[in-house]
Symmetry: D3
Subunit: 252 residues, 6 copies
């Protein structure tokens, strides 16, 4: 089984962290292909960045048939472009927020997502609402830039720890979800430190992808995820025009 | 007062219909600037098309300061790119679905949106849920392509009428919302024919834009609509990189 | 266009404040007729007062055809009598809470209403729930009598400012809605002071009324807003008996 | 124990039906005082009638201390004026819709209210939502005038039966709630006929009133049900001005 | 009228407290039969205990026909086994949480349940949600073992008082519900002390049982409460096998 | 990795079907131990049966440490006893309804569960609501006894097919969830027949169990799933008394 993990943040070093987290939990027969999008923001922080991350993400996803992968993962906690990706692809596509929230619901009745930027809090709350978990899952922001997680000398990891402590004291949280793909390497140490389940979305998405592939399941095409209608696209992005070859762009 | 109406469908003839509907209700002191996006799909039908409509839409919106407009309208019923547009702009930005639903709520307790494609139904239901109207507003699809509304000889308008009839008989609908910018020219005749209020989102958005400008209100920047963070964007879309000049792209 | 603004609080000086706020935002072609109800409480504070404010309000509304007005506004933040008014009138009727909440939703994702009396908080929360905004809009009370807003020497305006500060610090509010018609004159100074959008319901209702009239829309009569059934009314209030002349009382 | 049952419909014959239903279930030590309001519509059909039924209702309720009653019931299925009545009175006040829905929830998981006029359906749905039963309780209307229930030769009772049949076939209803005080005399025969629990709100309210009195409970006065503030009332309704004598009007 | 009150906690002294509370509010013609289950945990604290309390509870309930009782009450605030009990019995069965919450809703718009163990808080929140009261009713835990309420020298009652104080200060609670059958004897003194309505579920359930019996109502059998299907039960619990005699076990 | 699959229906032949479905999707390194409970109903059909299925289920689960299994699955679509099982065990415990619904949400926005008995429909709707999927997932019943699925000559499978057809035509279902462990062997043929994703809960639960174990996650013990308090249990079920040996019963 081959799983394509796409980092829509165009930052190579973050992809390395994500690839590690994915590989660590993958089954013996699973091969992880982690790629960095070549178009768009170096980090996705809020609604505007999301828009410009999606074309690059879909470009990587469009290579899926050529790469003979069985499932794809969008490795950004905003589940950026998930709906469009599901419409485009014939293989299952998993968002890491969706996967993390879904897995946590099997082990805790109340839990808290701790994310990076305050401006990502409301979009994540909308995802949580859409995934049916509003009454069980709170969202907190440590108010740190995404890339500061990787910077030597930043206080990002301390701020993250402070927010986890608050979640445990004030939210009745029974478990903590790490709200950014760039936090995946901290899972083990935060579990040891806080003594509660700590869930990383990248790992959760890999296992969910394996699960769907094992069961022979893929995205239902009867509703809003129907394959895009062939039609002209004008201007700069015309290479994405559906129907150019079998309902999918040809890739880069 | 000047209002920029952006058609994110890259089809000029649809923009003409939209411009007419906007001009018909605009106040005496309001000037309507209707523009067609130069990038992306000729019609927006579902999640995939939405992705590729947004960059072109934001490109037009980025010209707002140069055009000295006071508010902007996104003239596609999916409210495509609305969140990113609000983060980008300093002027109010209005979606036509949001405006239509909001206006209708003042005159009817139960109402139905009739849209074009079945695949747009679920995305519209998500919008209706987000706008707080799930218990009052149903969504129906006439199952017609967007551009068929303009085609001589198509049965699109008959199908639309059939679906309106069903809404009145089965949904307890007291009013009908036209779920596509391309239906704006039908408002008057459908009102006359069915004897109930029929609401077009383009008109509703123009009046809502005038209202916000008159009250001196614009998008709050304290939360998720904060101005995008300056950062590098890679590849094809790097011209959209925030912070290049005053937190906004330079336009085309 | 003529808009009838009815103050159901029987206090003339409050009507003056309301008329000012209405006139300030009205379009060049809009004439504002602000009237004070002649029956009922001097200020509406809670459920009991509401009951006795409505007959006087409807009495003024019944004069609408004679006054040739195009829309009516109920200038009390409890949206007192709104449903009955919509059943009675053939023109659009707007409540100022509904209008304020609806307008604010276009510019902020989270916001807080600051009202006067603690006892009005729950009724306003019910309105917010009915308008579909419970997850976005909180209600706070400054715990001040309505008429104290006008009294020289009262600390009402300080209390209001304190509560706004709390809303901004504790509610993640991105904008503030003034929860009483009697606060309309404070809008500009509170905006300047707090640096966030501050919304007054009277202004919002005027613009909403203009919008509906421009679009040629009025209350749908297919459901619960159907014209009252002609029937005998007994006792003191028999002058309100529907059907006496065209389904409406003759006025005063 | 004495329970005041107020019929806010100013129709004596309906009060007789209500009094019978109340007396039939009252405990051995309970005395029922059924009174007809002297002011307002002969039947309450929709929002407009509700407004003019409340003053007369409150006038009767204000006599409660003089009558030495222990609880009061509002015998109209719209729970007309319930909030204001609770603010006014020091004794418990029960609405018959609230009592019926609450009792039925102990014996059925899904049930349907069958009411009279289509225009009352939405107001009842709002009550059901407020009482927390939206997911369990549907509302149907037989589309019959309230007073037709009493008219010899009307087809009202047949229409009611038809709607009950539909509820049992289409709503998964396990029990039926009679949605009008004027249907109280039909309870026994409809139970026998349909073989399911049939609930009348008048009976339910009497038992709920007895329950609260036995437990020594009355309306909490800490929130929105606080006693009305003393203040001037102007015009026709000034006799209702709170604070004239102990926070309550003197009655008729 | 005879009401069977079953204490599913196998602790006799707690049953005495419950019997007192029941008798105090029972009508003159009501006989209370309070019994202690003979199988299961001495106190029910959380999900695991609940499982083993239910068979003993149902064993007592199965004696109902022989005892000629008219209704049954489950005297544990978790409403342990309520659904199964309703499927088993032909008489009405009342849970004390359901009864308390339902009665309180008639006298307060916002209220708080104060229970014993923190681990019971979430199960009670689920009950409150199911009873439709999530937006009105909060749950707090005093973090005390159930049986400590009876122990001389424990600080359980102080902790309970502290939590009631917090509810009144922080939850906008207008009334307090005692969240454990073992608190029933404290009702009167807590009312006097805090000056707000304090509701005990045992009393509320007795009055609700009397109400349903007076109205001639019992559990609807059309849906999920249909009588259990006759079938083999294997092993230790085979005596509970439905259909052995008239669809019910023979008792002890 | 070893996964314990417990069939709480005491019917061996059903366990064989379940074991097959589990083994088919299990990873290469996963060993499936499928056991049949030795106590309780031969099939679980409604609330009453559920009660008597749980002790036997927990008895099997208590053997988990001795069997050195890493996770446990409850193979009944009612997720019978799931909360108690999570409180008891230190390993993850998965319900098949929860797993099926959760997996389906990754591939379809709207879907329908088709179960056996009408009386199981409401309990399943409550599960769906608790799992946050009420707006996306409907429940239908084919109205067939559980064990009829295995009976030669029964029309159970035809009835199931009819209900699936209705779900696809009337519910906008994009995928079908099989609502009974005993349907697991039909998955492949129903997929082929209907051309939509068909999900079996047993398979979904196995993959979810593998996922949690791979991620090193188990049930959070900070809230309502805390280990049961040691205390006396009386009567027949005293062998289940917590704390007898390490907080768990000794097994059979």
């Amino acid at each position: 089984m081959r799983i394509l993990v796409i980092n829509p943040n165009t930052t190579q070093s973050m992809t390395a962290t994500i690839a590690d987290a994915a590989t660590r939990v993958a089954g013996r027969d699973t091969e992880i292909l982690a790629v960095t999008s070549s178009m768009g923001p170096v980090s996705i922080e809020g609604y505007y960045d999301e828009v410009f991350a999606v074309p690059g993400l879909l470009l990587e996803l469009a290579k899926a048939p050529a790469l003979r992968v069985d499932a794809a993962i969008i490795a950004c906690f905003d589940d950026t472009g998930l709906d469009a990706a599901r419409a485009l692809a014939d293989i299952p596509v998993i968002g890491i927020c969706e996967a993390a929230v879904s897995a946590t619901a099997f082990i805790a009745q109340k839990f808290t997502i701790v994310t990076t930027m305050e401006r990502s809090r409301l979009p994540l709350e909308h995802l949580v609402q859409r995934y049916g978990m509003s009454s069980r899952c709170k969202v907190r922001a440590a108010d740190i830039p995404v890339l500061s997680l990787e910077e030597a000398g930043s206080n990002a990891r301390e701020r993250l720890r402070e927010e986890i402590s608050l979640a445990l004291r004030q939210d009745r949280a029974e478990a903590i979800v790490l709200g950014c793909a760039g936090m995946a390497d901290l899972t083990a140490e935060l579990r040891a430190e806080f003594g509660v389940p700590v869930i990383d979305g990248v790992a959760a998405a890999v296992k969910q992808a394996e699960a769907l592939v094992s069961m022979g399941l893929s995205t239902a095409k009867r509703g809003a995820y129907a394959t895009p209608v062939a039609k002209p696209y004008r201007g700069l992005l015309d290479m994405f025009q559906p129907g150019r070859s079998g309902g999918m762009p040809e890739g880069g």
